[in-house]
């Protein structure tokens, strides 16, 4: 296994801390959520909960819990544990990253297998956050003095792998949960994680066949990895993750003009971005900004908006109309007389995006907009996005099971922060009253039909207003070598996303993978 890149493992299995602190797969492997959203199937898979029901007024949500589930120490899993976990988040706001208590009013157990949550206001998208919250055992965590500083060295969870068999500087091993609720699972005796400090080292191990499952970016993966043993190797990078966009800071004229943003978009040759910058591993985005994660929500008509197709003449016309004519030396200038010159900001080490930004800069030059690539360290790049001190920046998007979160963080007025104030999302500072109305309606839409109708309206609004410029879907890198273990998802059996980085999809994989035959226990 190779997921996190670290040179030394630090023992931490606390699933409530912000991601990145606890070792993989603490949040979805040692501990488990109530339900798992699978974007490839576009449905909820029941997990610790078997079902959920909303009350008529959408102010109460009930989860029916799975009977017979046990913690790895043998104690039964009950509604008390779910209630306790949620109350722990209320008591420690630092653990409540999705801010569940921003919409929850109360939580209590109806009976040992039913939990009822009451809401402050109808907020249907809250289900997404609640369902994916890992649940911890009350009888253990009651005795933890401070869950924030608790490293949980010996975890007690409901997940398939709970026993820490080995934990050293460079390797750790997790063994099976003796009381796992899925009979006969997991079929794999143990997970073994080796420390690789860099992508190169992790790729070397992968190519050598030392790693069974990884989620690394491997350049030219077909040639370097798959072709060495095509029968047993697969690289599968579904486009069911987030979108890569060119963010235009709409608080800085003339980028507040939709015509200017659309013109920039029409200058870009996305086919070339995909081929040259992304090794052909993705495909150009359309005007909805949605990836394959939202295939069931997607609206063809909205996606075909003309500003997503390269058309230099039309782009030049739009800029002329927007009052940005060409001046001396062919460089256009804004209505206020300043030349149209922007830096395209990108993280220095992210070579695929750097190449993409170089190509975009050249495309923009062709329509009279001076663009320069500027690379930053991740921290600097992120804080420039958050403070809104950029003009153009290549960035990813914020996502969830429904398109609600993507559109909220690209179009909702409520997420717009003034320049200089840190914004967790909506870095381009775009707010639209019509989108606000649709998002508010989405929060109260309980039926899939109503949600879909609103999602389509949101897509059309995005296509009409071009809040940000979609480029291509971010591929979710995943590689497997099946000489020792089989049952991974792939193009032929897409039951989950392959990348182990994606939680909680990883749980679906961990409970499906099995040894190829009765071979002796593998050492890697």
């Amino acid at each position: 296994m190779s997921t996190e890149q670290q040179s030394i493992w630090v023992r931490n299995f606390n699933p409530l801390l912000p991601p990145g602190r606890a070792r993989w797969p603490t949040r979805a492997g040692v501990y488990e959520p109530l339900l798992i959203w699978n974007p490839l199937a576009s449905r909820w898979t029941p997990w610790l909960a078997t079902d959920y029901t909303w009350s008529e007024d959408l102010l109460r949500l009930r989860f029916a819990l799975r009977p017979g589930v046990k913690w790895s120490d043998g104690a039964p899993f009950t509604a008390d544990d779910v209630v306790y976990t949620l109350l722990l988040l209320r008591e420690h706001p630092a653990l409540d990253l999705p801010r569940l208590w921003g919409f929850l009013a109360d939580v209590h157990a109806i009976d040992p297998l039913t939990v009822e949550l009451t809401f402050q206001r109808p907020y249907v998208p809250g289900l997404e956050d609640l369902a994916h919250q890992p649940v911890v055992p009350r009888h253990v965590w009651e005795r933890v003095p401070d869950p924030m500083t608790f490293a949980n060295p010996t975890p007690v969870g409901t997940g398939p792998f709970t026993e820490v068999r080995v934990f050293r500087d460079q390797v750790y091993e997790l063994g099976k949960n003796p009381h796992y609720w899925q009979p006969g699972k997991p079929a794999v005796p143990a997970l073994r994680m080796l420390a690789y400090p860099s992508n190169d080292q992790a790729n070397l191990a992968l190519i050598e066949g030392d790693v069974d499952w990884a989620g690394n970016f491997v350049p030219a993966v077909e040639r370097t990895f798959v072709r060495r043993d095509p029968a047993h190797r697969e690289a599968w990078s579904p486009l069911a993750g987030n979108m890569v966009l060119l963010y235009a800071n709409t608080a800085r004229p003339p980028l507040d003009d939709v015509r200017v943003r659309q013109a920039l978009s029409m200058a870009i040759d996305r086919d070339r971005l995909v081929d040259v910058a992304m090794y052909g591993m993705t495909r150009p985005a359309d005007a909805t900004g949605l990836t394959d994660a939202y295939a069931d929500w997607h609206d063809e008509a909205a996606g075909r908006a003309p500003w997503m197709t390269q058309d230099r003449a039309a782009a030049e016309r739009l800029l002329d109309e927007a009052g940005c004519p060409r001046g001396d030396g062919g460089v256009r200038h804004a209505p206020d007389g300043r030349p149209l010159a922007f830096d395209i900001e990108v993280v220095g080490g992210w070579s695929d995006w750097v190449r993409a930004a170089q190509l975009i800069a050249r495309d923009l030059d062709a329509i009279g907009v001076r663009a320069h690539l500027r690379v930053y360290d991740f921290g600097a790049w992120m804080s420039r996005l958050q403070e809104g001190t950029f003009s153009l920046s290549v960035g990813y998007s914020l996502d969830g099971p429904t398109p609600y979160r993507f559109y909220r963080w690209t179009m909702a007025s409520a997420t717009v922060q003034p320049l200089g104030k840190l914004a967790p999302g909506n870095w381009h500072r775009f707010g639209d009253p019509e989108a606000d109305r649709l998002l508010a309606a989405f929060e109260r839409a309980a039926t899939p039909e109503a949600q879909r109708e609103l999602a389509v309206a949101l897509q059309r609004r995005f296509a009409a207003t071009a809040p940000a410029i979609p480029l291509f879907a971010n591929p979710l890198w995943g590689e497997v070598t099946t000489t020792r273990f089989v049952g991974f998802p792939g193009a032929r059996d897409p039951y989950a996303r392959l990348s182990p980085h994606i939680e909680p999809d990883a749980l679906l994989v961990l409970t499906s993978v099995r040894p190829r035959d009765a071979a002796p226990e593998a050492t890697y």
Partner: protein, 326 residues
């Protein structure tokens, strides 16, 4: 004694200045750790949660001077706080996991490189225009001129990947339990050999050239002529007279090099997946993990100061001219 005490006073002042810079520099960097972390999640962490996290991570709005006094107090009591990227692990514990390996690999490689380079440098200068002097300086200057990253990658590819003589990664086989056994010790040596070799190849030329050039200067002095005239044995002149004086500049560089062992073994660690402090440092910088960064800088600074202090003492012992009343 007075000389030693005055040096000590100087080093204490230098340590204080380093501590102060260590406090200030991370606070001048753009961005703050929590929001950057939230941005990295590519999910929306609420501003309320970020504020609460900031508090948990020890970020305060207290005035700078109050933070500074707190910081000095904590450093003096050995409390370096909790790492942010490895929260809630203590900075001291995180550094300790890497320090052993860095000191082991980097320290041994440095000492070997210094010893080999200095000895060969002395010999090369002694038999000037001999075969040693004709071959070694240009060859080692060339090997030292290759970028270290390239040299390490080449070594790994050739001896690890193609020939299979050396392990590809890590400080010991992952199936071995770290114990005080011969088997484990041999395994550690086997894993350290190639990384150590690449470091030595990259650095030995510098020591050699430094020593050789200093030796040539010393050999031309009247002191050596006098020693010869007195009929001292060549060996005694070489080591006790010439080398003793010529080693001084190299010794000073050695003190500096100790700092690079702790901070600069980053490339070795990345290429050979070797655990250590260099990678921790780059990770701390990337994730804006101020407490870890400060802890590492502190360790490096104190190590450099301590090494320089020892070098000063050695210089006092070797070179009578540096003593106030010789």
């Amino acid at each position: 004694m007075r000389a030693v005490l005055s040096r000590l006073g100087f080093y204490l002042i230098a340590a204080w200045a380093a501590l102060t810079l260590n406090f200030l520099i991370p606070r001048l960097m753009p961005g703050d750790p929590t929001t950057i972390m939230a941005g990295r999640l590519s999910a929306s962490a609420s501003p309320e949660a970020i504020a609460a996290l900031n508090e948990a991570f020890g970020k305060t709005d207290a005035p700078l001077h109050a933070q500074y006094l707190d910081y000095l107090g904590n450093v003096l009591t050995g409390d370096l706080g909790r790492s942010i990227s490895q929260y809630p692990a203590r900075v001291g514990d995180v550094i300790a996991t890497g320090l052993v390996w860095t000191l082991g690999l980097g320290g041994v490689a440095l000492v070997l490189s210094f010893a080999i380079g200095t000895t060969l440098g002395a010999l090369a200068a002694w038999r000037r225009s001999g075969w040693l002097d004709a071959v070694l300086p240009p060859v080692l200057a060339l090997s030292g001129a290759f970028p270290y990253f390239w040299l390490a990658m080449l070594g790994l590819h050739l001896f690890g990947f193609t020939l299979g003589w050396a392990p590809l990664r890590h400080a010991y086989c992952s199936h071995l339990e770290p114990t005080w056994s011969l088997r484990f010790a041999l395994d550690v040596v086997q894993h350290a050999a190639l990384p150590a070799l690449t470091i030595i190849i990259a650095t030995v030329g510098g020591w050699l050239l430094g020593m050789r050039n200093a030796m040539l200067g010393v050999l031309g002095t009247e002191q050596i002529t006098l020693a010869r005239a007195k009929g001292l044995s060549s060996r005694r002149i070489l080591w006790a007279y010439a080398a003793r004086n010529a080693i001084l500049p190299n010794l000073t560089s050695f003190g500096m090099a100790v700092g690079f062992v702790l901070g600069g073994s980053l490339l070795t660690e990345i290429v050979f997946s070797y655990p250590g402090t260099g990678y921790l440092l780059i990770q701390a910088v990337r994730t804006q993990d101020y407490p870890l960064m400060q802890g590492l800088f502190l360790t490096i600074t104190l190590a450099v100061l301590a090494a320089n202090f020892l070098v000063d003492l050695a210089t006092l012992a070797l070179d009578p001219r540096t003593r106030p009343h010789a």
